[in-house]
């Protein structure tokens, strides 16, 4: 029998396809009108920390070095007020087998797929996760397909994404490349249905739990090497998994006093589904185009209930500009002798700014780096920006307009992370929660869920619900 493969028909089979491809019945964790038991889902479908360490250890994932950035710290202290300038450390996740922390997520997802008897894995990603899944699939003997959004309608591709395609193919994966558009999901569903492979989504409980080892490790490394927990851990934030997993790992290590700060590259004004603007951006991940929508509505992901729920864990969320991240990428190479990929240095740029607010005795940890190479390098990306009509200049990065220019700081003192109003994000989350679930009244269990899911309090949530005309019974 031939199935209807039209857009609407395939999208209509979405939940059925997903259930087959993820092996989780999310409905058993759901309650009320909108709530679900997040911790139960993580507990019953994920792995324990010890199991994850074992799984990752078998493929050489994890136990990455924690490096002190002494020269960057010294520079931050020169620019900071007397007594300020925290010690900056970086967790060199580029030393994972596939060159990024995503190996942790992929190790668990691919292990799980194999355990459940799937013959292959598919992931929809233009980022480092593709290479991570491909690398793990190679090690664990599964087939692998990666679906990328890569080109604009003139066939011009983002160099960073093309490099990731090359890396996936190097590990033996099939790469399906698409032009701009959210209907990537349609192609993804068709592939899942056609092959019967596992959806190695970034947002499953096992994927997110895979990052917990990162948070756990860095807490232990700080205790062993420095005799105490870090004060601040900075995570580059896109889909929220990095923040969520790291924070959960820190909590599992008992490091509950650590402040979790997310950082994204500011791409304000650029529409992520715009064909014409696709190549006007210099960052294809770690940016606000993912960070904001995923923080304020995690369940937009490719699974019914995302395990990445950053608002639960973020103490603070800051943005930096493209010029600042490129600048810090070069600083990492020139002052610390570490050449790493630009996107992973988003949180480093923010840390350099935040360290100047903190006391000298304090510790700030940047929890990732990523590999660099052709296409995925500041020269390749700045050169590409220039070709696309983006002006690259020195000046005050605060004046940068995404899509028009990239402003490199004229002096390191001009590098300033900017805070995003967390309360606004929470209100926006609550609005999305109500609108996407199409509800006008909630029960008290739903209310508790919302309070926990956006890490707010009863009064604030009730006020926001009231303004949306939603009653709580």
């Amino acid at each position: 029998m031939n199935k209807d493969m039209s857009y609407s028909a395939v999208m209509g089979r979405r939940s059925e396809i997903m259930k087959q491809a993820v092996g989780i019945d999310y409905s058993v964790f759901e309650y009320g009108k909108i709530g679900f038991d997040y911790e139960k889902m993580m507990r019953e479908t994920g792995y324990s920390l010890q199991e994850m360490q074992e799984i990752q250890g078998q493929t050489g994932v994890g136990n990455t070095p924690l490096l002190e950035l002494k020269n960057l710290t010294a520079l931050a202290r020169k620019l900071a007020p007397e007594g300020k300038g925290a010690r900056i450390f970086i967790k060199d996740e580029a030393s994972n087998p596939s060159g990024s922390f995503k190996a942790r997520r992929a190790a668990n997802a691919v292990y799980h797929a194999k355990r459940l008897g799937y013959k292959g894995v598919i992931a929809a990603t233009s980022g480092n996760y593709g290479a991570a899944v491909a690398s793990q699939a190679a090690m664990q003997g599964l087939k692998c397909i990666i679906v990328q959004e890569c080109y604009d309608s003139t066939g011009k591709g983002q160099p960073e994404i093309i490099e990731k395609a090359r890396k996936c193919e190097a590990y033996g994966a099939e790469v399906v490349q698409l032009t701009v558009g959210p209907e990537l999901f349609y192609t993804f569903l068709k592939l899942l249905e056609e092959t019967g492979y596992f959806n190695a989504s970034l947002y499953t409980p096992f994927g997110i739990a895979g990052v917990e080892t990162l948070g756990y490790e860095l807490a232990i490394q700080c205790r062993e090497g420095l005799g105490k927990d870090p004060d601040v851990v900075l995570c580059t934030n896109a889909g929220g998994g990095n923040v969520t997993g790291t924070a959960r790992g820190l909590i599992k290590a008992g490091a509950e006093g650590v402040k979790i700060v997310g950082a994204s590259v500011n791409l304000k004004g650029l529409h992520m589904a715009s064909d014409e603007q696709f190549n006007k951006k210099s960052f294809t991940t770690g940016h606000t185009g993912f960070g904001m929508p995923f923080a304020t509505w995690p369940d937009r992901s490719d699974v019914p209930r995302s395990a990445a729920r950053p608002l639960r864990y973020l103490d603070r969320y800051v943005i930096v500009n493209q010029g600042e991240v490129f600048y810090m990428t070069e600083a990492l190479a020139q002052l610390e002798g570490l050449e790493r990929g630009p996107a992973g240095n988003t949180s480093l740029a923010a840390a350099f700014s935040l360290a100047q607010e903190m006391d000298k005795e304090q510790i700030i940890v940047v929890q990732e780096t990523e590999y660099t190479g052709a296409g995925k390098h500041l020269q390749a990306q700045l050169s590409f920006a220039k070709e696309n009509g983006i002006q690259v200049i020195f000046g005050n990065p605060a004046e940068e307009i995404p899509g028009e220019n990239i402003i490199l700081p004229a002096h390191p003192s001009l590098l300033q992370a900017k805070d995003i109003d967390m309360d606004k994000l929470r209100v926006s989350y609550i609005r999305n929660c109500i609108e996407n679930n199409k509800v006008t009244e909630l029960d008290s269990a739903d209310l508790s869920f919302i309070i926990a899911d956006c890490n707010s309090d009863k009064e604030t949530v009730l006020k926001a619900l009231n303004e949306l005309g939603v009653s709580v019974n």
């Binding site: 857009y7 099939e174 959210p182 589904a273 064909d275 014409e276 050169s383």
Partner: protein, 103 residues
């Protein structure tokens, strides 16, 4: 047109959705262009560039599309010289180690 043998490693192109078939919630510039796809595999029969062909991908799937490239290879690189990058390093070293403070 030169004929390419069965089994040659090629790249194909296909239209997944025409502008009319695309999702409704798209920006105007995206809505007016099709959703296109490229993938690679071994030719299942002799063909020339521009022909509609079938390929077998590295995972063993059979996919149809227009033959656009034979023996495809990567051309992405480290970009052209960007003089601003040199300036960053010099500026940072001056800020950290240069100037009056370190004399």
């Amino acid at each position: 047109m030169r004929r390419r043998a069965e089994g040659t490693w090629v790249r194909i192109h296909d239209i997944i959705l025409t502008p009319e078939e695309r999702a409704t919630n798209l920006p105007d510039d995206t809505k007016k262009v099709p959703l296109e796809m490229w993938t690679k595999g071994f030719l299942l029969e002799e063909a020339s560039i521009g022909d509609m062909v079938e390929i077998k991908t590295i995972t063993g799937r059979t996919v149809r599309g227009t033959l656009v490239e034979v023996n495809p290879y990567y051309t992405h690189d480290f970009g052209k010289f960007v003089p601003e990058i040199l300036e960053i390093g010099l500026q940072l070293k001056e800020a950290l180690w240069g100037g009056d403070l370190n004399e």
